[in-house]
Point group: C2
Chain length 218, copies 2
DNA sequence: ATTATCTTTTTGGTATGCCAAAAATAATAA
DNA sequence: TTATTATTTTTGGCATACCAAAAAGATAAT
């Protein structure tokens, strides 16, 4: 398998298995990578042969220790580049994902560590995702989704789980950027949409969007 | 054809045809890209179909206008990255080539232009090679090879045509870095090796090495 | 439990990029 | 000019990464 192919699979499995414990379905991988399910079946069998994943037929996949290690390395590269593009090169948080998607495949530890060092070895990227350190250690957090918050609670926006420019531009328009503090006003019984106050303005968030916003209770 | 494959061919043809006029042989392309000659024949036929090169069977190839344009863009990306790695990220001139070889395939004009702007839109890279501007315009120079110099002449080192770490480390050891001024003392009749003075030290340069050092008369 | 639906796998097939060895074609030397 | 050598092209083949459609297997719904 080509390194890039391996990397794309492992990164995707890592991202889909949240804390790396859950088993990931073929379909979700196919969706994320825009591949035919048949292709994913093939790919997983090969990755199993390479000992990067434990793939159980008709059940699902999870990363092995070595697969996890590689995945964390790719995630690190991706997030360091995103941070560098945003902080040092002046790109918007809605632009960095696409560029990092390509840069992440350049495998040079010295380069990534140099970028990290210039950035002061950050532990979070512009989307609020934790950046693994050079050894693959990742910070754990007790963040929750906006959709899991309680009425009248005060929260701080910590990250997003969707990196599409359209979503990020939408958030930016409502000042819902990382670090913003919000107050959950009501949760509509009708459609579960959330009304919150941010920067003194009232914003109505759809349940779908609330699933993609990560916050911390304050 | 995959973009990366196209880019590697075009860049190689560009580099081998000096001022982009000479016809390039299949073998030279095969050597540079470490490919089997049969593969190169195939590749050139495809590139001809894509209108990137004029490929005449059993004769050679040269770039079309659109091939030239693409080639110059890749050369720009490569050389901007080399310069950025050296000047902004602290890599040695013997390290930058290999990393830039990968980074050059990330095709994002905004990124390259941003890096160039941070560097002050440089016109030469750390090896003395000219960097095309965003429009593909490249600076012309009247530089000559060290092997073409005359005895007793004074010259300034302007670049190298070999980017291998071994060669560059060798040059560095003798202080033969970009900008160094040298005086050609003698050219040995026996083997055409060149004896020159650099930083008050006498250095003996083999004909092979002299072919790879670019200088300017001062 | 038995459809109906959704997911996964199998099967058969394509395009790309590569190579080794043989055949054809140039280029060079005798 | 003819023989020798070097280069290029052809031929036949291989591995990778894909896909569409059919078959098999799970899951859910009644």
């Amino acid at each position: 398998m080509r390194p890039e192919t391996i990397e794309n699979y492992l990164k995707t499995i890592y991202n889909l298995s949240s804390n790396n414990t859950a088993v990931v379905s073929n379909q979700k991988i196919a969706d994320k990578l825009s591949l035919n399910p048949a292709t994913v079946t093939e790919g997983l069998r090969k990755l199993h042969g390479l000992k990067y994943v434990i793939y159980e037929k008709s059940y699902g996949s999870r990363l092995t220790t070595s697969g996890s290690k590689l995945a964390l390395d790719i995630v690190r590269r991706h997030r360091i580049w995103e941070t560098y593009l945003a902080k040092e090169l002046g790109f918007g948080w809605d632009e960095v994902h696409a560029i990092a998607e390509e840069l992440e495949h350049v495998n040079n530890a010295k380069l990534i560590n140099k970028l990290a060092s210039i950035l002061g070895n950050p532990t979070y990227d512009p989307h609020g995702d934790p950046i693994p350190d050079a050894k693959g250690k990742i910070q754990k957090s007790n963040f929750i989704k906006l959709s899991e918050t309680k009425v009248k609670g005060n929260y701080k926006v910590m990250g997003v789980t969707d990196h599409s420019p359209t979503f990020l531009k939408y958030l930016e328009k409502h000042q819902l950027i990382i670090g913003a503090t919000i107050n959950v006003k009501t949760i509509e019984d009708f459609d579960n949409s959330i009304v919150l106050v941010c920067q003194k303005k009232e914003v109505n968030i759809s349940p779908k969007a609330a699933e993609c916003i990560i916050v911390q209770s304050i």
